[in-house]
């Protein structure tokens, strides 16, 4: 199945011995002119790239306290060294969070610290050579920015911040990553990551309405660009047609239908994802986020709800208010933005939905906490609500629920292996190996509790698991949307 060795699932998780250079060959396709130019980046390595890179690095350390403090504060205690799923899956020591940070830190020390200027060997500082730049490209594209290392760091050093900075420097010197930059271009040009134009989207949603009516006998609406709707739903474009994502979208529609909520999607903002975050570009992230504000104003909605998407929820929850706010034109009785899980959870609490969990009795379900949701956001009013609410929604929809091992869920959750702008076929080996820790924990609940359904609330997780589950001898269709479960359990025609 693969020309590399798929990591073995062991009885108990093992921290591998380091193997230097094990993943040195893995890097994504480099971006080309048509994708670089619209974003204002050079399309090949600029002549004075060292100068440009060092200048950008200096600039970023004055713009981001996180970067400055994180580059200065690491004591190399090693607490993070066994926390990254890519290290656990590949054994490459440069995938240990501290070693990944050091790729940038050693250059920072050389050019920006006294010790590194005078005693480079002593403090592990090096010049910015082409080899170092190549290492940046290779290993900062083996970080999914999942923040698991940051949870375990005594100083909260977040490798995601470092890898975002590194990718921005790489873009500025002309070596961007094709996957992310091509996708951001599509968002600007067409409106979503998948490049689905407005008319095609309209037709897709109409087909979906027919399918749901055929199946349920109820006219559930999947509205697009409805002026004056109460709720604007912004969801990852995979929800429009990919399996199993679309079952989630079907579920959102059924929930709104039964609760009698007047909602719409937008062709202008037909994408929740914001890959501007992955490449560390504040300007691009802001530009992508502004589409949501524009759509909300155009349509005159009162609320904004975000669909099942991990990093999109991070950008929405943590950044939208800063990037595209203030949202004072929306109904102040609801949080801005709201997660679809918060909406459904609230409706369940208020008895507005009629869910029959026995409709899902063929399923034995576990839940994968998506990294960005778990470690960068919240749901509801209390810290940790992002763990509680999805599980309560699932438990209201199914009778058989089992958690994976405690050290692999909640804020200790393992990334699916495809986050942070790495969900591309040119990184397949990395994705398969990076999925190992999650697959290990999943195997355990499959063995002990006969689990046959892995629920998730992230489009990247769903796509990634669809691809990687078979490598670990698990069926690709065991991954599904949380709102797919809601969709199966909801008893249409009984409440509305």
């Amino acid at each position: 199945m693969a020309d590399y060795e798929v990591p073995k699932i062991t009885d108990i998780p093992v921290v591998p011995a380091i193997q230097e250079g094990a993943m040195a060959h893995s890097s994504p396709f480099v971006s080309r002119a048509p994708f670089q130019e619209p974003m204002g980046y050079p399309d090949e390595l600029v002549d004075n790239w060292q100068e440009v890179a060092i200048e950008k690095m200096g600039d970023l350390t004055t713009k981001y306290r996180s970067l400055k403090v994180f580059l200065d504060s690491c004591v190399k205690c090693g607490a993070c060294t066994d926390k990254c799923h890519y290290f656990l899956g590949t054994s490459d020591p440069k995938n240990m969070p501290v070693a990944r940070q050091d790729l940038l830190r050693k250059v920072y020390r050389r050019y920006f610290t006294l010790a590194g200027k005078f005693f480079p060997k002593l403090v592990g500082a090096t010049d910015l050579t082409k080899e170092v730049l190549d290492d940046w490209y290779t290993y900062y594209h083996q970080c999914s920015q999942c923040r698991r290392c940051s949870v375990f760091c005594p100083y909260g050093i977040d490798t995601a911040e470092i890898s975002m900075a590194a990718r921005e420097i790489l873009d500025v010197v002309g070596v961007g990553q094709k996957y992310c930059n091509e996708i951001i271009g599509k968002v600007y040009e067409i409106g979503n990551n998948l490049g689905l134009p407005g008319p095609a989207l309209k037709a897709t949603l109409e087909d979906l309405e027919e399918d749901v009516e055929d199946e349920t006998g109820i006219e559930v609406k999947y509205p697009l660009d409805v002026q004056g709707a109460d709720v604007l739903v912004v969801t990852p474009s995979a929800d429009f047609f990919a399996e199993p994502h679309i079952d989630g979208l079907i579920g959102y529609g059924k929930v709104f239908h039964q609760a009698g909520i007047n909602w719409t999607m937008s062709s202008h903002a037909s994408e929740a994802a914001n890959f501007g975050m992955f490449i560390g570009s504040y300007d691009n992230m802001k530009r992508v986020a502004m589409r949501i504000r524009e759509a909300a104003l155009d349509l005159g909605v009162k609320r904004i709800v975000v669909g099942e998407c991990g990093h999109a929820w991070r950008v929405a929850y943590q950044f939208w208010n800063t990037l595209a706010g203030p949202f004072d034109f929306l109904d102040p009785n609801y949080p801005v933005p709201q997660h679809i899980i918060e909406v459904t959870h609230d409706l369940i609490q208020r008895g507005a939905l009629n869910l029959d969990p026995s409709a899902n009795d063929d399923k034995r379900v576990t839940f994968h906490d998506s990294c960005n949701v778990a470690r960068a956001t919240r749901m509801g009013n209390m810290p940790g609500g992002q763990f509680i609410l999805p599980r309560e929604v699932i438990k209201a929809s199914v009778n058989n629920y089992f958690d994976m091992a405690p050290e692999t869920i909640h804020d200790s959750t393992f990334c699916c292996g495809g986050g942070g702008g790495l969900l591309t076929d040119d990184l397949m080996e990395l994705r398969v190996k990076g999925a190992m820790p999650r697959m290990q924990a999943l195997h355990e609940v499959v063995k002990e509790n006969d689990v046959n359904y892995l629920a998730a609330i992230c489009a990247i997780c769903k796509s990634q698991f669809t691809k990687t589950l078979p490598y670990y001898d698990l069926p690709m269709d065991m991954i599904g949307s949380v709102h797919g479960l809601v969709s199966d359990a909801i008893q249409l025609g009984t409440k509305e």
Partner: protein, 241 residues
């Protein structure tokens, strides 16, 4: 005044100047570098009081480290809190008359010296024996441990191997603080001890020892989790396109 006394006096004034000016500069820089976005690692407190409690647990209990590595935690905690007690015990060299609690902790400070040493050797052992930690260690990481172990061992030697004239040491230290220089005892172990301490003070603001102020400026820990409720805007970010 002997050359030795003069040399050590100058060294200590220099080291203190570097330490305080360097740290002040670092703290000023950290405090004045914006955090354009909310990047707190969740679950996180939703109030300022909650953040203070979170930071207290982080700084006093090393909570995150406890979650990640029990060995590093136990060695790290033993070292830091052993050192704290040892440092408090040393107040008797600058404090006259000594406060009652400084007198009270004197005997415990001695034990703390051994606890501190145990922690340091444990950390060094991990740095050498665990392949992952060995890989990430630069020469300076080893030297830093060697320096602090040197300070601790010479300190304990003056207690248990060959005593030094502590009254004279105290006179020297108080002399430095009051700009009324007194002779330093010509005890080689004491001179090594004090020399290494001065070196530590000098490298502090230029090394990874910056983790001490750094932790208080780490946005992933110090921010309040309230991005939906309160709009977070910093100057440069406001002007970005």
């Amino acid at each position: 005044m002997s050359m030795l006394t003069l040399g050590y006096s100058v060294l200590f004034y220099f080291a203190a100047a570097i330490l305080f000016a360097g740290l002040a500069y670092r703290i000023y820089t950290y405090a004045n570098t914006p955090s354009p976005l909310k990047i707190v690692v969740t679950p996180a407190p939703t109030t300022k009081a909650g953040v203070v409690y979170r930071m207290w647990r982080e700084v006093v209990l090393f909570e995150s480290l406890f979650r990640s590595s029990k060995w590093t935690w136990i060695f790290g905690w033993a070292f830091h809190f052993g050192m704290l007690l040892v440092l408090l015990r040393h107040l008797r060299y600058v404090n006259e008359p000594t406060w009652f609690w400084v007198d009270m902790i004197q005997p415990y400070g001695i034990y703390a010296g051994f606890v501190m040493l145990l922690g340091l050797f444990g950390l060094w052992a991990r740095r050498i024996l665990v392949d992952r930690v060995r890989y990430i260690s630069a020469p300076s990481d080893h030297l830093m441990l060697a320096m602090i172990i040197g300070i601790t061992v010479t300190g304990l030697m003056m207690k248990f191997v060959s005593g030094t004239d502590v009254i004279a040491v105290k006179n020297f230290m108080i002399g430095l603080l009051t700009f009324n220089i007194q002779p330093i005892p010509e005890d080689p172990i004491l001179l090594i001890h004090l020399g290494l301490v001065a070196l530590l003070m000098i490298v502090f603001p230029y090394s990874k020892l910056l983790h001490a102020p750094g932790v208080f400026f780490s946005p992933t820990r110090t921010q309040v989790d309230n991005p939906r409720e309160t709009r977070h805007v910093t100057p440069w970010a406001k002007d970005a396109n």
